[in-house]
Each structure stands twice: as structure tokens, then as C-alpha cells.
């Protein structure tokens, strides 16, 4: 009986019919919108400013370790200003949220949803197309910014980047896109849930603020509660530190920060806790090869991708259940 029913209601035709039409239209919208233009200018200026400062700082310190100079363009900060990756930590969520917070509710408000869905496409194509277009747009923006930074580096430092540096930067690019992907999925979810774009935008920003400001504080107190230090034995201290790290890593910004560290500081050998005996035989200060650094960030990267997929799936389910009539 249930089988008959399932067969009868099974849909025919690919759910991705029309997907590329949606992607093309949404990307064109993103790339020509004033909103994105402002954010692109902002991130470009940040990149040029911080990388330029970093380059002058690098040049002024003669005899600095000559390795991985190009990566330092991303990480060297000109106090009191943060480094370029420091800026990225909050510019990326901002761009991601700006790309998606009005994705679905605006279709409702403009009364375009019923008309678009009456074309021979499934809802799947519309939502996934919007999401893909956002990811591609981010990829495009960050690629341009990365090239800008590298170009500035060649000009200011007078040497070309090595293959290893380019490889690390590319991995960082991928990680940055998926870090943005998480926040885009959050914004997309809210754009399905809330009919008002302003509500969706504020809700997305609230979630982001929660994870970037309050979560570190909350995780500290939670760790003290979950693994209290009663006597002060090394085991107790270790347990609490483990809890703290585990809790903190629930925040995408923490994962991204650790990815940045592992990729841009090749000498970093572990992102977790390292006990002295684990360092036996290690040559400290020696950079890891790229493959080892990638291995180090692998769980973080998959975590970000998993969070993106999970949030997108939630938005998807919610969207499928929504009635078309406003």
C-alpha cells in the first residue's frame, strides 16, 4: 500500500532542470548589485591596505626568515590594525550574509515566486541555484582579492611566490569559500523562514555575533562546569582544556581561524593540545610540507563543509514545505 503510494507520488524529471539558468541569473544579479559592489570595494581596500603594510613591515626587517614571505602578506599585522586574515574573519561572514539574506523572501515580496515556479523547473533547482550562485560569487571575489595580494607582493617584495606558497593560498581560498558557505546557508535558512528581508539579515547577524563574541565566553564557563578543576592535577587541567577546545570549535570562526593558522604558518604542527612527550624527536621551528598542513586542517575543512550542507538541507526542507501563495 505504501509502496503504491510512493510510486504514484514519485516525481518524474531531473530536479536540476533549469539549475544553470538560475545560477547564471543570480550571479549576474550579485555581480551587478550595489550592495555587492560596496562590499567588494571594502574587501579590496582592506586587502591592498593590509598587504601593503605587511610588505613594508617585511622589507623593513632585514634578515627576517626569508621563507614564506607571501604568506606573511596575509598574516603580518600593522598594529593596531589587524592583519588581512583578521579582517577576513569578519568580512567573509558579512559578504556571505549579504549574498543570501533576501534570496527567497524577496521572491515572495516581489511576487515572482509563483511565476518562476510555474516554469518547468522544480523548487530544488531554484534554491540550489541560488546557493551555488552565492558560492561562485564568493569564489570569484576572493580569487580576485588573492591575485591582488599576490600582485602587490610581487611588486613590493620583488620576488615571485613559490609553488608551495601558491598551493597554501589556494587551500586557504577553498577554506574561505566554505567558511562563507556556512554563513550563507544560515542567511538562506533565515530568508526562507522570515518573510521580511530585514528580519532575516538581523537574525543572521545575531547568530554571527553570538558565535564570534559570546560563544568564546560561554564555552569557557561551560568548560569549567563540565570539567571542574578541584585539586589541580594535570589530568583535570588537561580535561578542562580539551572541553574548552571542543566547545570553541563549534563556532565556524574558530575553525576558520585554526585553518588560517595551519595553512599560513607552516611551522605550526598541531592545532590541538600538545603534550611535551609528543614533541620528542620533533625539530621545532621546521615548516611542515603542504600535504601535512592540509592533513592538519582536514577535519576543520570537512567540519565547515558539513555544517554548510546541514544548514542548506534545513533551508531546503523548510522551502519544500512552504506554500507558494503569499
Amino acid at each position: 500500500m505504501t509502496m503504491v503510494r510512493a510510486m504514484r507520488t514519485q516525481r518524474e524529471g531531473s530536479p536540476w532542470t533549469g539549475l544553470w539558468a538560475v545560477v547564471a541569473k543570480e550571479m549576474a544579479d550579485h555581480l551587478s548589485s550595489t550592495r555587492m559592489f560596496i562590499l567588494e570595494m571594502l574587501i579590496a581596500l582592506t586587502a591592498v591596505g593590509t598587504a601593503y603594510n605587511a610588505a613594508s613591515a617585511i622589507r623593513s626587517v632585514a634578515g627576517l626568515e626569508p621563507k614564506f614571505l607571501f604568506l606573511k602578506l596575509f598574516t603580518v599585522a600593522d598594529e593596531p590594525f589587524p592583519s588581512f586574515v583578521g579582517f577576513l574573519g569578519f568580512l567573509v561572514p558579512l559578504i556571505a550574509i549579504a549574498l543570501a539574506f533576501d534570496a527567497v523572501n524577496n521572491e515572495f515580496n516581489q511576487h515572482t515566486l509563483a511565476r518562476v515556479l510555474s516554469q518547468p523547473i522544480y523548487r530544488d533547482a531554484l534554491l540550489f541555484g541560488k546557493f551555488l550562485a552565492g558560492l561562485f560569487t564568493q569564489f570569484l571575489i576572493y580569487s580576485a582579492i588573492w591575485l591582488l595580494v599576490f600582485g602587490l607582493g610581487v611588486w613590493q617584495l620583488g620576488i615571485p611566490p613559490t609553488g608551495e606558497e601558491v598551493g597554501r593560498a589556494l587551500w586557504l581560498l577553498v577554506a574561505t569559500v566554505f567558511y562563507g558557505g556556512v554563513w550563507m546557508a544560515v542567511a538562506l535558512l533565515f530568508s526562507v523562514r522570515f518573510r521580511q528581508p530585514a528580519t532575516a539579515a538581523l537574525a543572521s547577524i545575531a547568530v554571527w555575533l553570538f558565535f564570534s563574541i559570546f560563544w568564546p565566553m560561554i564555552s569557557t564557563s561551560l568548560a569549567t562546569i563540565l570539567a571542574p578543576i578541584r585539586i589541580g592535577t594535570p589530568e583535570e587541567i588537561l580535561a578542562q582544556a580539551r572541553w574548552l577546545l571542543a566547545l570553541r570549535r563549534l563556532a565556524p570562526s574558530q575553525l576558520y581561524a585554526e585553518i588560517v593558522v595551519a595553512l599560513l604558518r607552516p611551522e605550526v604542527r598541531s592545532l590541538g593540545l600538545v603534550l611535551p612527550f609528543q614533541l620528542e624527536g620533533a625539530i621545532l621551528g621546521q615548516p611542515l610540507p603542504l600535504s601535512q598542513s592540509v592533513l592538519l586542517i582536514w577535519p576543520h575543512l570537512t567540519g565547515l563543509i558539513a555544517a554548510t550542507i546541514l544548514l542548506f538541507a534545513l533551508a531546503y526542507i523548510l522551502f519544500q514545505r512552504q506554500e507558494v501563495r503569499a
Binding site: 504514484r8 507520488t9 514519485q10 516525481r11 518524474e12 524529471g13 532542470t17 533549469g18 539558468a21 538560475v22 547564471a24 541569473k25 544579479d29 516581489q110 511576487h111 515572482t112 515566486l113 509563483a114 511565476r115 518562476v116 515556479l117 510555474s118 516554469q119 518547468p120 523547473i121 522544480y122 506554500e323 507558494v324 501563495r325
Partner: protein, 318 residues
């Protein structure tokens, strides 16, 4: 004899949170027909349309549109059915041409063919001069016409319009109705949902009266008039004098249901068919001098008002 049905529903039902929006609807619409779905707001017209397009899942019942079940083959149905929702929306920042191009792409129409169809559709609805202006600058009437151009892109067999003339000024509404007649002339089937009766009357071949999710009445306007009002024609008779006396004679004419004496020279005759020749003959034979004789069909407004009034009375008595 009987043409193939393009739209057919059997026992179609939709329940929203325990509220029955559409209640066991049987609807049959034939190829090339203009069918009017009539009913007050909230009588289930839009829900029915959404189920026909596969945009809302029916709770139970069978649907077939252009030979396919929209639940299982929504893409095939939507490729042949054009839908103009009420308050049809377009992307305001895109031009009319870009909006139509998006529709063409979603329909998988090749680029060259799309260019041709867009140009043709825009010419058709008279928007060729504003093709490259952003839609946000368009008036309500222009948007509505762009809605027609939008469905024409896919060259549909069936066009479904939800309240197409609502909010249009009389001139635009009249133009829009002409457009509907033109589309019918091309052999397209048109389903029109509306509560603006005289407009539905002007273009529809058949009308279905909706009430609380059920199809209460169906037929041509004439048939509905007979069913609801018990008559189908108003005949106005103007004589020189003696109207009361002549009324006695006219009353005996077969088909006449009622004669009202308006004044000494005017009679209002209600009948089941066009009885002008018989009335004229009767008046002249009775020695009356006939000055004027004309016939008028009852408007859908009368039928509608009468029907819903009597229905309301019945439910109060229950």
C-alpha cells in the same frame, strides 16, 4: 462529439490545517474553451489552480492536465501550461526583455528561438518600445501585459489566469479582454479565475460558480440564469398606451415567466427564451401599438447576487 478534456479533476480535495479549501471538485475543461472560475475570495479558486500546476499537493483526488498528472509529471505539465498569478511579479531591476529571457532559459528554449519568441511576444502585447526599460518603472497594466508575454514565451496549450483584470483601469481591462479573445482564437484553452463578473461574462464560454471549495453551478451564462433565476431573457416592451391591459395578453405567451408593469407604456417581460416575435405578435393582435422591443440577457452579477443571497438564506434556516 465531445472534445478531449485538457483539464480534468475528480474528487480533488485540499485541506489546509483542518480547513477544507477545495472540496471534492470535479472539473472538466475542453480544448479551446475559455472557462471562468467564479467565486468570492477564499472559495478555493487559487488553491485549485495551484493544484492543477503541481505547486500544491492535493490531499486527495485525481488531476490530469494536458494528459499528465501534475503530481508526478509537473515538468511536463508546466512546460505546456502558462500561469499568470494574481499580482504577477517581475524582477524590478531587470528589463522586460531580461525577465522574459530568464523565463525562456528556465524553459530550456535555445537562444536564437528565445530571441525570436521574446520579440514576437513583446510586439503582441504592445510592449516592444519599453522592452529595455527596467520593469520597476512599469504600470500595473503594463505588468499584466508583460505577464501575458511571459506565458507566450513557452507557447502554451493552456493559459491559467488568476484575477487578470483586477486593479486595471477600464481601458486596460478592455484591451486585456481583447487579448484573451485573441488567444482563444489561436486555439488555446484558457482558465480564468475572477470575481469581476461582467468581464468573465464577456469572454467565457462556460462558467463554474465556486462556493466554499465546491463547484456549486456550471454552464453557460444563459444556462446559469435559467437555473438560478428561472429565466434567461429580459424583454423590454414599449407601447403607446394601455400597458396593464396588454400585460394580460403577454403573460399568456408561452415561455414568459413574469410580466412587470412599469408604467402605462412600459412592460418588463421575463422569459425562458427569446420571446420577442411572440410578444410582438400578441401585442399587435390585442390591438396595442408597439413602439419598441428589445432583449437583454441577465448579467452574471444578477445570477451571482441572487444565488449567493438565496444560499445564505438557506444556511441561516438550517
Amino acid at each position: 462529439m465531445s472534445p478531449t478534456p485538457v483539464i480534468e479533476t475528480r474528487g480533488l480535495t485540499k485541506v489546509y490545517n483542518g480547513l477544507v479549501a477545495v472540496d471534492h471538485l470535479d472539473l472538466t475543461i475542453h480544448e479551446g474553451e475559455v472557462y471562468g472560475l467564479l467565486g468570492p475570495n477564499g472559495s478555493g479558486k487559487t488553491t485549485t489552480i495551484l493544484m492543477l500546476l503541481g505547486l500544491t499537493e492535493p490531499t486527495e483526488g485525481e488531476v490530469q492536465v494536458v494528459g499528465w498528472d501534475p503530481r508526478r509529471y509537473p515538468l511536463r505539465v508546466k512546460a505546456q501550461v502558462g500561469y499568470i498569478p494574481d499580482q504577477v511579479g517581475f524582477y524590478g531591476d531587470l528589463t522586460a526583455w531580461e525577465n522574459l529571457m530568464y523565463t525562456a532559459k528556465l524553459n530550456g528554449i535555445p537562444r536564437k528561438e528565445a530571441y525570436r519568441r521574446i520579440e514576437e511576444a513583446l510586439n503582441r502585447v504592445g510592449l516592444q518600445d519599453v522592452a529595455h526599460r527596467p520593469v520597476r518603472t512599469f504600470s500595473r497594466g503594463m505588468r499584466q501585459r508583460l505577464g501575458v508575454a511571459d506565458v507566450l514565451i513557452k507557447n502554451p496549450r493552456v493559459i491559467i489566469m488568476d484575477e487578470p483584470t483586477q486593479g486595471l483601469d477600464p481601458e486596460s481591462a478592455r484591451e486585456f479582454l481583447d487579448l484573451i479573445r485573441e488567444l482563444k482564437g489561436e486555439g488555446r484553452t484558457i482558465l480564468l479565475a475572477s470575481h469581476l463578473l461582467h468581464q468573465v461574462q464577456a469572454v467565457c464560454d462556460r462558467v463554474g460558480l465556486f462556493r466554499r471549495g465546491k463547484k456549486a453551478l456550471e454552464g453557460t451564462v444563459e444556462e446559469l440564469a435559467l437555473q438560478v433565476l428561472g429565466m434567461s431573457h429580459y424583454v423590454h416592451v414599449e407601447v403607446e398606451k394601455d400597458a396593464p391591459r396588454l400585460a394580460q395578453v403577454v403573460r399568456r405567451v408561452p415561455g414568459v415567466t413574469d410580466v412587470e408593469i412599469h408604467d402605462d407604456c412600459t412592460l418588463w417581460v421575463k422569459s425562458r427564451k427569446d420571446v420577442r416575435p411572440e410578444v410582438a405578435k400578441a401585442v399587435v393582435q390585442a390591438g396595442g401599438r408597439l413602439l419598441r422591443l428589445d432583449v437583454e440577457l441577465p448579467s452574471l452579477d444578477d445570477i451571482y447576487a441572487h444565488y449567493f443571497k438565496s444560499e445564505a438564506g438557506e444556511t441561516e434556516n438550517e
